[in-house]
């Protein structure tokens, strides 16, 4: 048990800094490779990580679509990253089109980006600022969360 406490002491000793995102490249549903650098927004980039088997993810998508419409011309880019594994990746394209996702849908079948960002739940939505720092991180989705997402986009898109 002592070693657990040591780990806690270690955590307390760390000065916290916002995590950064590294450039990544993934294929989209049309078999074209897209990179984060190509898709990122002038002010902010909103990235939604989802899977076809995740019910809260599917519930969040229409809400994010609405937010996208509101901010797409305001320097805020949106990226959808599907994290289905081999079992269900085939459904990602048809489902994203059926749900009319308006922004690029990338396929992270190898969990490359998910692992890089150490994600532990679906859906996870992150907001990345122009410097590549992850300024907001949100797990799960229930009704009302869309207001919080908008509030955070407003807050960080006005930040100098």
């Amino acid at each position: 048990m002592k070693s657990i406490y040591l780990v806690f002491l270690f955590f307390i000793g760390i000065q916290l800094q916002a995590q950064s995102i590294k450039n990544f490249s993934l294929k989209d549903t049309q078999n074209s490779t897209k990179s984060f650098d190509e898709l990122k927004g002038e002010k902010l980039t909103v990235i939604d990580f989802w899977a076809t088997w995740c019910k809260p993810c599917l519930k969040s998508i229409p809400a994010i679509n609405t937010i996208y419409e509101q901010y797409k011309d305001k320097g805020v880019s949106f990226i959808s990253i599907n994290c289905d594994g081999p079992r269900s990746i085939a459904k990602a394209g048809p489902m994203s089109q059926s749900l009319k996702i308006q922004y690029p849908v990338l396929l992270d079948i190898d969990s490359t980006v998910k692992t890089q960002l150490n994600l532990s739940a679906f859906p996870t939505l992150i907001i990345v600022n122009a410097k590549g720092k992850i300024v907001w991180f949100h797990e799960g989705f229930i009704s009302g969360d869309e207001k919080e997402i908008i509030a955070q986009i407003e807050k960080y898109s006005n930040e100098k």
Binding site: G13, T33, K55, G144
Partner: protein
């Protein structure tokens, strides 16, 4: 071990303090404590599991380490182990990984690594607990050019049946060498792979060819075939074609596997069975048998103008073992919202599962999120299942009542009921449990479970595993930075 941890912590703190500004630390920690017992335990007892993941990024380099610990009153189950370590280099054209990494070849037919977020695995035999993942320990390099990708892998995949308190020579008995290349032209990708496996049973060699692409913006496909070079009867074929027309999406998949469980099981052929999020259906899933399985799955989605969604699915799987077992499932789900923003989900499912000796299995349910205010909702969920096993009618039911305030507070009461003679010799068996999740802030969350948890098969992110029955209290603290 203690000295190693202290040295490591001091080193990391030193790096953190001296390199601030142009390098970065990140990490997460999951601590779960339990007090309770499995049905087979004589007494209640406490356990503590911790997983600390620490990463350090400097320019194009990333170093990472995962420390897992488990402690109970039973010494033989306990451990403190560095279960993963890695050094990675990433650039626009080259990725190199040393240590532990995740890699999948094709649709997992030759190699499938995974990590199930938040899942802690406990095995009835070893009774130790560990994070649920399957990685490879070794070296991988990936060259990424505009239309051409190639990756080479050498390493030892994890057999996660064995917990970290077992020796690495037991947990990683397979050694693989693999190369995968693909070339993309006119939105079509042609891939080829070769994998060589060495273990105590000798050497085996496998090849795989894949072809995927876009026929039109509305139609795309993926096919792959893999064979054992030395055994013509061992093969795995998988293919899918997807259509989208306005609000309709259709996915059709076929499979044919024979004698294609590689090594200790480091590959994962696609199951082509719907992964349900509903409790009873998730538990009733058909687990793919790579020894012999063929079949198909078709799924269609239709999004109505009012944003309601209809999903239908049909899957057939045939296992030709000592006799033919044909699993079939028909599923339909409709989800919609009312004008007052209450969310409804209704489903019905019919299945025949001779592998489990379940016939006429009918499942249905209704999930409702009743919006009570801008920021809160009440949840009611009910599922019912009936099937016949050997002339005996079996029923399972689940009732859940919940309340959510934003994503900050989520509370639920779960009750399950079953008269399955495999589980009870009485008329009915019940399970009552409660869950509370409190999202303290962006970085920290607490989850509390108290009561009884019904075990059984569970599938998450395409991976199926066994959850054990549990009675007691469980507290989980997750933090990230």
């Amino acid at each position: 071990m203690k000295n190693r941890i202290i040295s490591f912590a001091v080193l990391m703190l030193f790096l953190c303090c001296t390199t601030r500004g142009f390098a970065q630390f990140y990490g997460s920690n999951l601590l779960e404590t339990q007090y309770g017992k499995l049905p087979s335990d004589a007494i209640n007892f406490g356990t503590a599991y911790d997983r600390a993941l620490l990463g350090y990024t400097y320019n194009r380099f990333t170093a990472g380490v995962t420390l897992e610990q488990y402690y109970t009153r039973y010494e033989e189950r306990n451990y403190t182990k560095i279960t993963q370590y890695s050094l990675k280099y990433n650039s626009d054209i080259l990725d190199v990984s040393l240590g532990n990494f995740n890699e999948t070849i094709g649709r997992g037919i030759l190699l499938r690594s995974f990590e199930i977020p938040g899942a802690i695995l406990e095995d009835q035999g070893y009774r130790s607990r560990n994070y649920f993942f399957r990685d490879v320990q070794g070296i991988s390099a990936k060259l990424k050019l505009k239309d051409f990708t190639t990756k080479v892998i050498w390493g030892k995949p994890l057999n996660n049946v064995f917990p970290p308190n077992q020796d690495n020579s037991v947990r990683r008995i397979d050694e693989i060498k693999a190369i995968y290349s693909d070339y993309t032209f006119k939105k079509q990708t042609l891939g080829a792979s070769f994998l060589s496996l060495n273990n105590d049973k000798g050497n085996s060699n496998y090849t795989m060819l894949s072809l995927s692409g876009v026929i039109s913006p509305k139609i795309n496909y993926y096919t792959e075939i893999a064979n054992d070079i030395d055994n013509a009867s061992s093969h795995a074929y998988y293919g899918n074609i997807n259509f989208t027309f306005a609000n309709i999406g259709i996915t059709a998949e076929v499979k044919d596997y024979n004698n294609f469980l590689l090594g200790s099981g480091f590959n994962e052929v696609p199951a082509l069975i719907k992964e349900h999020s509903y409790r009873l259906l998730n538990r009733s899933t058909h687990v793919v048998q790579p020894i012999n399985e063929s079949g198909y799955q078709i799924e269609a989605y239709y999004t109505f103008p009012d944003a309601s969604v209809l999903t239908v699915n049909n899957a057939i799987s045939k296992n030709a073992l000592n006799k033919d077992f044909i699993f079939q499932e028909y599923f339909a789900e409709y989800s919609f919202s009312t004008a007052s923003h209450h969310d409804f989900k209704l489903f019905v499912d019919y299945a025949e599962d001779p592998f489990k000796d379940q016939s006429n299995r009918i499942s249905s349910g209704i999930y409702v999120d009743w919006k009570t205010s801008e920021k809160s909702s009440l949840r009611t969920e009910y599922e019912f299942q009936h099937f016949n096993r050997g002339g005996i009618n079996v029923q399972n039911q689940v009732l859940t009542l919940g309340y959510a305030f934003k994503s900050k507070w989520i509370f639920s009461l779960v009750s399950e009921l079953s008269n399955d003679p495999f589980l009870t010799d009485k008329t009915w068996k019940t399970w009552f449990g409660s869950n509370l999740k409190y999202q303290i802030n962006n970085e920290n969350s607490l989850q509390l479970f108290a009561g009884q948890r019904r075990g059984g098969p569970a599938c998450n992110a395409g991976i199926c595993y066994e959850v054990l029955d549990y009675k007691g209290v469980e507290l989980r603290w997750t933090t990230r930075f």
